[in-house]
């Protein structure tokens, strides 16, 4: 991969909104001890015992976007648009929501991962159709049911017209989004791309994890959006942008379970191949990786497969962090949360959620890993 530059970070998460707030929270051990699961605010959770989600607390999109035009947007869209604006502003592509030359609306694009779309919108309209009549569903809310809706709104709100690509690959989506952004930048289809992922808390999502017993197993759901400003190196240089990190490698792999009836599957082999492919893509050796920002979430079979693969490829001593211990299982946004963690680490922010190993004093390279629920795995390499 031709290296691309990360010049900005837009974050809406349970532990902080904005790059600096997120970084401060990452290194705060008190937050880790009191993981930010709290009483659910985004839906009525009274039917569930002790329901707790790492929601973005007191999320107030109007603070960032103004209060016009928000009424029909769903939570997913609002999280994503805020993260996109924060990322573009942090990168200096925009100031006071106006483009700063040489950045232009036609030169900036969006690539966004999301795993489950707006379940909030789908279930709301299904309820109206079932309990009342399909003729009464609100046409203004129908667009939210379409999976690329939030991503499309990011282009509308932020005037990012070079391209807009929505991707979905479960927990791996935000890392796969990096591969998409890479080819578009490498082909000159955009100067800069806001790339990352978003996922919103909803009762349907909570119910699914609850029914599958995934929450009792130790994981907790989160939500949020992270959008990184990723640029061609020549464009970042031309506009004198700050350089937070370089993206240098990507790898992904899929491995099917042998059992024909099995659906959910944690594959060590896929993770190993994804990491090896990322190293090869970056022309790096395993020994050059200083730290890993993993997708470890508390789901034992997946954590064991992921950590096993990391140790197999990089050695037992490598330092592995689990940002999901702070932000929760954020699914389509999960890889982007880990990317943000890795960017911080490369900038001297040591996350409190270290699973194993100890990081060198100066972190120069970071691997980010994500495991999907169906045998898929992806990895991205960053360096200072």
């Amino acid at each position: 991969m031709t290296p691309h530059i990360i010049t900005g970070l837009g974050v809406c998460s349970a532990i902080g909104t904005g790059r600096e707030a997120f970084f401060r929270a990452l290194e705060n051990p008190t937050l880790l001890r009191n993981a930010p699961r709290r009483k659910v605010e985004s839906f009525d959770a009274s039917q569930y015992d002790d329901a707790a989600i790492a929601e973005v607390p007191d999320f107030d999109p109007a603070k960032y976007l103004g209060d016009k035009g928000l009424r029909t947007l769903d939570r997913l869209t609002k999280l994503l648009v805020v993260a996109t604006r924060l990322g573009a502003t942090d990168a200096g592509l925009k100031k006071d929501n106006l483009y700063v030359p040489p950045a232009t609306p036609d030169g900036v694009g969006v690539v966004c991962s999301n795993a489950y779309g707006s379940l909030e919108a789908i279930t709301e309209l299904d309820r109206v159709a079932k309990l009342e009549d399909a003729r009464y569903i609100n046409p203004a809310k129908f667009p939210n049911t379409v999976a690329n809706s939030a991503s499309g709104y990011a282009s509308i709100w932020e005037e990012m017209r070079a391209l807009n690509v929505a991707v979905s690959d479960g927990n791996c989506g935000a890392l796969d989004a990096i591969a998409c952004a890479d080819v578009h930048l490498a082909n000159g289809r955009a100067d800069a791309i806001l790339v990352g992922g978003a996922e919103a808390a909803s009762e349907a999502l909570y119910l699914a994890f609850h029914r599958l017993g995934m929450l009792e197993a130790g994981a907790f759901l989160g939500e949020g959006a992270v959008m990184l400003a990723m640029e061609r190196a020549d464009f970042a240089t031309k506009r004198g942008a700050k350089r937070l990190a370089e993206i240098v490698g990507f790898g992904t792999a899929f491995d099917a379970p042998e059992n024909e009836t099995q659906m959910i599957f944690a594959s060590t082999d896929a993770m190993k191949r994804a990491i090896a492919a990322a190293l090869e893509d970056a022309s790096m050796r395993a020994g050059e990786v200083d730290v890993v920002a993993s997708g470890v979430s508390g789901l034992k079979p997946f954590d064991m497969a992921e950590l096993g693969a990391i140790c197999d490829v990089l050695g037992e001593d490598v330092c592995v962090a689990a940002p999901k211990a702070l932000v929760g299982e954020t699914l389509g946004a999960g890889g982007a949360m880990a990317l943000a963690c890795a960017v911080g680490w490369l900038g001297g922010i040591t996350p409190s959620a270290v699973q194993s190993g100890s990081a060198p004093d100066r972190v120069r390279t970071a691997l980010v890993t994500s495991m999907g629920y169906y045998g898929n795995a992806s990895a991205v390499l960053l360096r200072v």
């Binding site: 039917q47 569930y48 609306p105 694009g109 969006v110 489950y116 379940l119 789908i122 279930t123 309209l125 299904d126 309820r127 079932k130 399909a134 003729r135 569903i137 046409p139 129908f142 667009p143 049911t145 379409v146 999976a147 690329n148 809706s149 499309g152 709104y153 282009s155 509308i156 017209r161 070079a162 391209l163 807009n164 929505a166 991707v167 979905s168 690959d169 796969d176 591969a179 080819v183 578009h184 490498a186 082909n187 000159g188 100067d191 349907a204 119910l207 699914a208 029914r211 464009f235 792999a253 899929f254 099917a256 009836t261 659906m263 896929a270 191949r273 492919a277 169906y374 045998g375 898929n376």
Partner: protein
């Protein structure tokens, strides 16, 4: 930069299963638009759709696959098997990390989420079946396909609304050209479902009986369903196995209107840009284009915008254009993949499929519509337009092998 060839196609559509039945029906101008049977559409005042009546899951999937899959995945699996057979490649040759699967969709497994929601609404959260939950998620479409064929490379869903097929094909080309894959199984699928149907009716976008793209009296779109899958191969891979090459994918152009979530930009600046980029990425000028397979939804706004794209890009040259949606309806996420399959067949046969129901020319849509009956013509280079919800514009370029310049010589666009 490598050449990328199409060596196989597969189709599940309301006018036929498999490339031959599908294209023969298109060339005849056969309509697949019929009264909806899978749910009661009558209360909505719109009863017609391009619904597939003769697709039997058990004819195409193993029992285990059928248990794991929703209808959207099932149609994709069937279309993939047809495409692999059409490519004349032994399925075991596709096993391994050099094969990827990239699929577009709008709603994915819409029947699964509907069943989950309906159970929840009727019986509370205890009524939601645990076994059904892992079957939901658009993520699953390429997973099912990779699993069936043994592909171990990238598995990615591109939910790019009604342009999803072109997005998936385009990204498949990128994966091969950047060396990340030798073969990409690319395409898209969509199933007809009540919520989506109702939503389009409530938006006022659905025509009562038929879809008449570019006609003065057009009344909107007709919802459809289907799956179109293509086997994309690097030149080296295709040559090595002596594959029969059906077409070359040149390049593709993406832009985003950034204007309105459902309406196209009235000046069509984004879609004009997408078509120009597709030509540029393919290393050709507009004079090379013989035919355009239209997005052509039959809505007033879309067809006006698309006519503007044609005049802006081609100037005074009236390039023939036609919309298959007049026959199979708007298959949403699957639309541009099905249209891509038709583009491949047009290149092979020189047949431009017609736009049926075209009766009264719209002076504001001053384009050369292939009206009502198919037309024979030169078919070296064809474009596939998709101008989707969310302001997503994607135009892909397909050509007869040997017509396009070597991609290695095509200068990259300075953004």
């Amino acid at each position: 930069m490598k050449r990328v060839f199409i060596t196989g196609v597969g189709v599940v559509s309301s006018i036929g299963l498999g490339r031959r039945a599908f294209f023969d029906a298109l060339a005849r101008g056969q309509s697949g638009i019929t009264p909806v049977e899978s749910f009661d559409a009558a209360p909505l005042g719109r009863e017609f759709a391009g619904e597939i009546k003769d697709f039997k899951v058990e004819d195409h999937l193993t029992a285990a696959e059928a248990r794991r899959s929703g209808r959207c995945s099932a149609m994709s699996l069937a279309a993939m098997r047809m495409a692999v057979a059409d490519a004349g490649i032994a399925p075991e040759k596709l096993r391994g990390p050099r094969t990827s699967v990239v699929l577009g969709t709008t709603m994915g497994e819409a029947d699964v989420i509907a069943n989950l929601d309906h159970a929840w609404i009727a019986g509370g959260h205890g009524a939601v079946r645990r076994t059904l939950l892992p079957k939901y998620g658009s993520t699953l479409l390429p997973i099912h396909l990779a699993r069936a064929i043994g592909a171990q490379g990238m598995v990615l869903t591109m939910p790019a609304a009604c342009a999803a097929g072109n997005y998936a094909i385009g990204f498949g080309v990128d994966l091969i050209r950047s060396g990340r894959a030798d073969v990409v199984i690319a395409g898209a699928a969509e199933m007809l479902q009540q919520l989506q149907f109702s939503g389009f009716v409530r938006l006022g976008a659905v025509s009562p009986h038929r879809c008449q793209p570019f006609d003065l009296n057009r009344q909107g779109l007709i919802v459809g369903e289907g799956a179109g899958l293509l086997i994309l191969e690097s030149e080296a891979h295709a040559v090595k196995r002596n594959a029969a090459v059906q077409a070359e994918v040149g390049g593709y152009g993406l832009t985003c209107d950034g204007y309105h979530i459902t309406r196209p930009h009235p000046e069509a600046a984004g879609s004009v840009g997408a078509m120009r980029r597709a030509l540029e990425h393919s290393g050709i000028g507009p004079e090379m284009v013989d035919f355009v397979n239209a997005h052509g939804t039959g809505t007033r706004a879309n067809d006006l915008a698309e006519a503007k794209v044609m005049s802006d890009v081609f100037g005074g040259r009236r390039v023939p254009i036609s919309s298959m949606k007049s026959m199979i309806g708007h298959c949403m996420g699957a639309a541009s993949a099905l249209e891509a399959v038709a583009c491949v067949m047009t290149l092979e046969t020189g047949i431009y499929p017609p736009t049926i129901g075209y009766e009264t020319p719209d002076p504001q849509c001053d384009v050369d519509v292939v009206a009502n009956t198919a037309r024979k013509g030169k078919a070296d280079v064809v474009l596939n337009n998709s101008l989707a919800f969310g302001g997503y514009n994607a135009v892909a370029c397909f050509a007869r092998p040997g017509v396009l310049p070597d991609p290695a010589q095509v200068k990259r666009r300075a953004a």
